[in-house]
């Protein structure tokens, strides 16, 4: 029963544990419930990915109604990769959360925090396994609404305005997506993605479908924080609780990329998206702008969380750059970087969260001499930073390598130069933190700062370990990314 219903259980288990978590009054129990669920989700994700890897795309008809009359869960390799990303990050972030949340949130809010976290997890998982366009919208809203709440729980009052800004922009994006789904339905009469893919080529030449495509692109771009619609991201990441930033930086925007891929390749089709609508060129332009502008702005930030937030906008630029190349190599490079960046950014934000726990601040000028007091945390930060820059033997190097080679294959050699330049910029802003922590004279009261607790160090180091492992032997993950890309661009000439 478990195996045959696995795609549904993947989403149902966290969905059911959210109200259960709310019924538990004790914050410790709520945390335990969230922890247990996250690990269960990881177990199922691994099983699911394994099945898809060996048996191909999985299809599950909810309610046993034949598609397209019922809602279908359809997991292919790209979706399985996303499930893995979300599950791994969730499972690692939960043990970390115990200390971090106690410090950053009011006591009364901790139980509800875990409830909203489980809802966010449900929403994200629901987006990546579904084969129905409207179902995607519903779960997108579940994950978005819970993220607004999670962000607003930050300790400073600016968390509230950041959450509000994200709410307004996110809802506009979601409404655009809804308009797009409505227009698609109006012309084809169906909501199932595979069915849409079949029916769209006949009607693709209508103005309505073109407008639907445009609205979908803009709506999803808001969600994935593509330049210039990224405005909500720096504030949201900076003022949210550390756990929330780490989780969202690694999952929410990546799921946005997945939605983009799903609609561009599976629903609208390669030919319509990239040849008729020229979305590849537009995305490439925006990605380049994202990479340059965001990396540059990051260099000048004093608040490390904000610096890493702008760095995330740049990294999303890399992912979109790979996709905009419109080749199997480009898409697989993009997906590879999606996976690696999730690991890198999560580790970095976890390290920063530990620093915030012990130091009470994440400003660079408060971090002088920190390395002596928190050696493990800073070492994790350095390792993550090296991966972000793209030093060999790290995961970041692998994905940048594949990205550059995909760009060169497509004939865009200036992009290779761009990647190099932005890596140098990353070096600068990482160095600023490293220099302050290792090479500056510590402040008078720095000696009172202790190292972070083990429950916060271990998840960060597990991610770093995964990073280095992939840097040395990336075979499996490259294989998965390439398979995922192959399924997506399957209709390519």
């Amino acid at each position: 029963m478990l195996l045959s219903n696995l795609p549904a259980l993947q989403v149902i288990i966290p969905l059911v544990s959210a109200p259960l978590c709310m019924l538990l009054r004790n914050p410790r129990h709520a945390w335990a419930c969230a922890l247990f669920t996250s690990w269960l989700v990881l177990g199922m994700a691994v099983m699911l990915a394994q099945r898809v890897y060996t048996a191909g795309t999985l299809s599950y008809a909810i309610g046993a109604w034949a598609t397209p009359w019922g809602i279908e869960y359809r997991v292919d390799m790209a979706g399985a990769l996303m499930v893995l990303v979300i599950a791994i990050i969730g499972a690692l972030v939960m043990p970390y959360a115990w200390h971090s949340i106690q410090e950053e949130l009011h006591k009364k809010q901790t139980g509800l925090f875990y409830t909203c976290y489980l809802l966010c997890l449900t929403g994200l998982l629901g987006i990546v396994v579904t084969g129905d366009a409207f179902n995607l919208f519903v779960f997108l809203e579940i994950s978005s609404l819970s993220s607004y709440v999670l962000i607003s729980l930050g300790s400073k009052r600016r968390a509230l305005t950041a959450a509000y800004q994200y709410l307004v922009m996110g809802t506009i994006g979601a409404t655009f997506i809804l308009i797009s789904i409505g227009l698609l339905y109006m012309i084809t009469g169906t909501l199932n993605m595979a069915d849409l893919a079949q029916r769209l080529p006949d009607v693709a030449d209508t103005r309505t479908i073109r407008v639907a495509f445009a609205f979908m692109t803009v709506g999803v771009s808001i969600k994935l924080a593509l330049f210039p619609l990224h405005i909500w991201l720096p504030n949201a990441y900076t003022f949210a609780p550390s756990v929330v930033t780490a989780f969202m930086a690694a999952t929410a925007t990546k799921v946005g990329v997945y939605v983009l891929l799903r609609f561009f390749f599976t629903v609208f089709g390669f030919h319509f998206s990239f040849v008729a609508m020229h979305v590849g060129e537009i995305l490439m332009l925006l990605a380049v702008a994202a990479i340059l502008v965001a990396s540059l702005v990051a260099v000048f930030q004093d608040n490390v969380k904000r610096m890493l937030a702008y760095s995330s906008v740049a990294q999303i630029g890399y992912i979109i750059l790979g996709i905009s190349l419109a080749s199997a190599a480009g898409v697989s490079a993009g997906m590879l970087h999606l996976f690696n960046h999730a690991l890198i950014k999560c580790a970095l934000f976890l390290a920063i969260g530990s620093i915030y726990l012990r130091l009470g601040s994440v400003e660079i000028h408060n971090m002088h001499g920190l390395a002596r007091q928190m050696p493990w945390t800073m070492a994790a930060f350095v390792a993550g930073g090296l991966s972000l820059i793209g030093i060999p033997l790290t995961a970041g190097f692998i994905s940048k390598w594949y990205l550059v080679s995909a760009a060169l294959t497509a004939g865009y050699w200036p992009l290779a130069v761009l990647v190099l330049v932005s890596s140098l910029l990353a070096l600068i802003y990482i160095w600023r933190v490293v220099e302050a922590a290792y090479f500056h004279v510590p402040a008078a009261d720095m000696h009172r700062v202790r190292e972070a607790p083990a429950s916060m160090l271990i998840p960060a180091w597990l991610l770093i370990g995964a990073n280095i492992y992939i840097g040395i032997d990336a075979g499996l993950i490259i294989n998965i990314a390439q398979q995922g890309a192959a399924v997506l661009v399957g209709q390519m000439p």
């Binding site: 109200p19 909810i62 046993a64 909203c116 819970s146 009469g189 407008v211």
Partner: protein, 324 residues
């Protein structure tokens, strides 16, 4: 004739919309929003969407207005004059509007029976519902059975909103013996509230269970149920309302509703079917459908009622001098 009503309603909607943009008194804007919602509900009736009209009236004109009024009461009534020229927003809006109008050119004509939406999936729903599911209201059959999973997502959205408002606003329990606001002023309201309260609850139960045969269902019923209690709270004060339905009970109800819904699905999995496959719930597939639909609508109604009340409590308990 229908077209005439259609045009009048759309015209009124436009006037209300423009007024909302221009007016600076937020209290007036809140009421205009309520009118906008009610006009939309009327338009939905003209467009033959009766379930949607009921929901829009209950949720849009009902609950949203209450929340807006509470928010305005807790903040400020006057909107400050905008300090920036609205040039960029105007450009964005005009571009978006133009794109949409460009998109409408190829659309099927309004009311056209040959358009793609009326064939394919929808035609099958209309054709198969009497035989497979056995309820006359096709909207309920699609909502609760064919696309029942979306409705589970919807209940989860409501649950998220409840959890979110709880996390943001919390609640403060009023003192138990609080008599509420000045007694003489509210005599009429209290008499009427006492008369209407049981009728509202009865109506809510009717909507809940009659949703198979006419417009209605869990969402509308839950909202109307909550409205009864909100009316009571308005007339007798929050303290007394919290004695009738304490916070803890609402917490539990909120979670239980979602769990009822999900457990129907899990039960069908345990009985060998797929998630939310109602057919396996009983000997006869159609009975199974009826049973499944009834249970999930119950879960929906419970969660929606609880969440609406929790949100109301959350907003209103923020008042320092309570008389809302």
């Amino acid at each position: 004739m229908e077209y005439l009503i259609d045009i009048v309603l759309l015209g009124l909607l436009m006037i209300t919309g423009f007024a909302i943009v221009r007016m600076r008194s937020l209290l007036a804007v809140a009421m205009l929003t309520s009118i906008y919602s009610l006009l939309s509900a009327s338009l939905f009736v003209v467009l033959d969407a009766v379930d949607v009209a009921l929901t829009e009236a209950a949720i849009g004109a009902g609950i949203s207005t209450i929340l807006l009024l509470a928010a305005v009461a807790l903040t400020t009534d006057e909107e400050q004059a905008p300090r920036h020229t609205p040039l960029l927003p105007l450009i964005v809006v005009i571009t978006t509007g133009a794109a949409l109008i460009y998109g409408t050119v190829d659309m099927p004509h309004y009311g056209d029976p040959a358009s793609p939406v009326h064939r394919h999936v929808a035609a099958t729903y209309l054709h198969d519902t009497p035989g497979e599911i056995g309820v006359p209201n096709v909207v309920t059959s699609v909502l609760a059975s064919y696309r029942g999973y979306d409705t589970l997502g919807e209940v989860t959205v409501i649950f998220t909103a409840g959890a979110g408002v709880l996390a943001l606003l919390g609640y403060r329990t009023r003192r138990r013996n609080s008599r509420g606001p000045g007694n003489r002023k509210l005599v009429v309201l209290r008499v009427i509230a006492k008369l209407f309260f049981p009728l509202i609850l009865l109506f809510a139960l009717y909507i809940q269970f009659h949703g198979d045969y006419g417009p209605g269902g869990g969402f509308q019923a839950g909202v109307i149920f909550a409205t009864g209690f909100i009316l009571y709270a308005l007339a007798f004060g929050l303290g007394n309302a919290q004695r009738v339905i304490p916070h803890r009970m609402l917490h539990i109800m909120m979670a239980v509703g979602v769990l009822i819904y999900a457990s129907v699905g899990i039960e069908s999995m345990l009985l060998g079917g797929k998630f939310l496959e109602y057919r396996v719930l009983a000997e006869d597939p159609v009975t199974g459908q009826h049973l499944g639909i009834m249970l999930i609508e119950l879960g929906v109604g419970i969660t929606v009622a609880a969440v609406m009340l929790i949100i109301y409590y959350g907003f209103v308990s923020q008042q320092r001098s309570g008389d809302m």
